[in-house]
């Protein structure tokens, strides 16, 4: 039952949306602006994108980001899925604390996570590099995968698995034929989220990346400190587009799998 709202609410909401999107859109627009310094529009160009491709540092950062993202996604998806599946068989009294531990990476501020990992690695004399960044990414990404897969499992309930067992399926048969098909959309969604988080992460990576394992966000940070440049606009635009695409894809996969009410992609 919808109540007709105050017209001001609608206006305010529209203004808010504009407020949220104008800066982002501006970055994207200016990445095509044919001028290096001024704020005025001086014509359309793709020069900046081209020079990105030619930039050795950018390509290196991109490569690092991709390698880290792929590896951490695979590991995080695995760990996150296992946590969700095995949590159901854990005694009730342990579930609360264990759930808490699994949610911690989501709640802890990035800066704390970053510096504590830095301290750990230095105490263990592990040199900073791509692997340390991977470890960090896996740690926070697995929580998100856990949340998504858990939601799918909760929606599924135990009935289907009981039905399978009643019909003669062993534990593994049940998993393969009933459980897995049901949670696959959750796993894929979780993986896409993990990938996006890894690509986008700055603060945690900043602490644990070594000199030779600059990721894209770290590179951007370095450049931004020096001032603005249209190449950075172009790079940011690409990153924005990739992130949005991946997340919309994740949302789509999840909704197709469910077939009913939409499941919002909340990062918490």
């Amino acid at each position: 039952m919808k109540k007709k709202g105050h017209p001001l609410l609608g206006i305010h909401s529209a203004l808010m949306m504009i407020f949220i999107y104008v800066p982002i859109v501006l970055v994207m627009v200016y990445s095509f602006n044919n001028t290096r310094l001024s704020g005025d529009w001086k014509g359309f160009t793709l020069d900046w994108y081209v020079s990105l491709l030619k930039d050795r540092h950018v390509m290196e950062a991109l490569t690092n980001s991709l390698i880290v993202a792929v590896v951490s996604t695979i590991a995080a998806t695995l760990l996150g899925t296992i946590s969700a599946l095995s949590m159901r068989d854990i005694a009730r009294k342990w579930r609360g604390p264990l759930n808490g531990v699994l949610y911690m990476p989501v709640i802890i501020p990035d800066i704390i996570m970053g510096l504590s990992l830095l301290v750990l690695f230095s105490q263990l004399h592990i040199p900073l590099g791509k692997s340390t960044v991977m470890i960090a990414h896996i740690t926070f990404s697995m929580s998100y995968v856990y949340v998504v897969v858990n939601a799918r499992l909760a929606g599924m309930g135990r009935q289907l698995e009981e039905a399978a067992q009643d019909l003669g399926a062993t534990y593994w048969q049940t998993f393969r034929h009933v459980t897995l098909p049901q949670i696959t959309p959750g796993i894929i969604s979780g993986a896409l989220i993990a990938f996006t988080l890894s690509l986008d992460d700055f603060m945690v990576s900043f602490f644990v990346a070594g000199p030779s394992s600059t990721t894209l966000p770290i590179y951007i940070y370095g450049q931004v400190k020096r001032g603005i440049s249209p190449e950075i606009n172009a790079l940011c635009t690409l990153l924005i587009l990739v992130s949005i695409t991946l997340i919309l894809l994740a949302q789509y996969v999840l909704n197709r799998g469910k077939g009913q009410k939409k499941n919002k992609m909340l990062p918490f």
């Binding site: 067992q165 009643d166 019909l167 098909p181 049901q182 077939g259």
Partner: protein, 334 residues
């Protein structure tokens, strides 16, 4: 009572279920015969579903044993018991077609493809699903889904079929149709049915024997006729059908509403009172009569049910006498 020549399909030996200190099912022993339609009847929370799930293997009895066709299966997981369960909300696999759902049990037991086809066709015909085999569960109505659940179970030719309130989610008309179908199916297949419901009409209509449960306790086991005409406990007397309970310091007895006779004059009648309500229900009409108070006891309101052979016009406020044949009194244990 074990009669000679009777084959025992299921034996429950002192089954008890406790959950977090609470006794959910009090120690219960009973036998279920081959080919019988047995119903566990009772209100929500009485333990009937728990008993069913213990037989199926999804709950472990805290103590006691379950014997299926002579074999002790208490420690066996559900997939090793030769019975099948029709779940309350069907639990159909959403990512499989009707045919794949039905085939599932056969596939798990690695039955050869040829045989699978035959048996599936049989089950599909028996449950009238022939036109729907390539549909997905979400494309079916509630009644159709329920049939798929049944087909999926019986295709495995289990020794026992367990049914957990299978008709609960359906509307009245559909329920009545399916009750008849299920009863017919059971007779055709000849296998043992253990049925759980809270609907006493349903239980009466379909069962060979009924087990009445209340708070984990068995109130009575008997045929529908035995339960209706000779209820042993207060709960059994009032849960199945309406009943009038007369209490006195010497004990209680029950008389069914259709066994009470109203009389125009109060003379010579066993009780007398004032008509409080006259309810017309189509095939029967009911009189609610407030009996005169006797001594310290509270005024009792009794229900009298009259069918079309009674053409009298009874009026609210009228004083009448109430009579019955003492043979129709059933003594109730409190």
């Amino acid at each position: 009572m074990i009669k000679k020549g009777m084959v025992l399909m299921i034996e429950l030996v002192e089954i008890e279920k406790q959950f977090q200190g609470q006794v959910v099912v009090k120690p219960l022993s009973m036998v279920i015969e081959e080919g019988e339609f047995l119903t566990l009847l009772g209100p929500s929370g009485c333990g009937k579903t728990t008993i069913l799930r213990m037989i199926a293997g999804f709950e472990q009895p805290t103590s006691g044993n379950i014997v299926l066709a002579g074999k002790v299966v208490t420690d066996n997981p559900p997939n090793e018991r030769d019975l099948n369960l029709v779940f309350q909300h069907y639990a159909l696999f959403p990512h499989m077609t009707v045919e794949e759902n039905i085939a599932f049990g056969l596939k798990m037991k690695k039955i050869p493809k040829e045989q699978q086809k035959e048996r599936i066709a049989e089950a599909v015909a028996m449950t009238q699903l022939t036109a729907l085999t390539s549909r997905y569960p979400h494309q079916l109505s509630g009644g159709q889904q329920q049939r798929v659940a049944i087909a999926r179970a019986i295709v495995n030719k289990p020794k026992v079929l367990l049914l957990d309130e299978p008709l609960g989610a359906l509307d009245l008309q559909l329920r009545k149709n399916l009750q008849t179908e299920l009863k017919h199916l059971q007779r055709t297949l000849g296998i043992t049915f253990v049925y759980v419901t809270h609907d006493q009409e349903e239980a009466m209509m379909m069962s060979d024997r009924i087990v009445i449960l209340n708070n984990g306790q068995v109130e009575q086991i008997g045929t529908p006729k035995e339960i209706y005409s000779s209820p042993r406990t207060l709960f059994a007397a009032t849960f199945v059908g309406e009943n009038n309970i007369f209490t006195s310091p010497q004990g209680s007895f029950a008389v069914r509403p259709e066994k009470l006779r109203p009389q125009r004059s109060e003379e010579g009648s066993m009780k007398s009172g004032v008509i409080q309500d006259v309810l017309y229900l189509g095939n029967v009409h009911k009189l609610m009569v407030v009996l005169d108070q006797v001594g310290e006891q509270q005024a009792l309101t009794v229900t009298i049910v009259l069918d079309s052979t009674d053409e009298e016009s009874w009026r609210v406020g009228e004083r009448i006498g109430v009579n019955w044949n003492p043979k129709d009194e059933v003594v109730i244990q409190s």
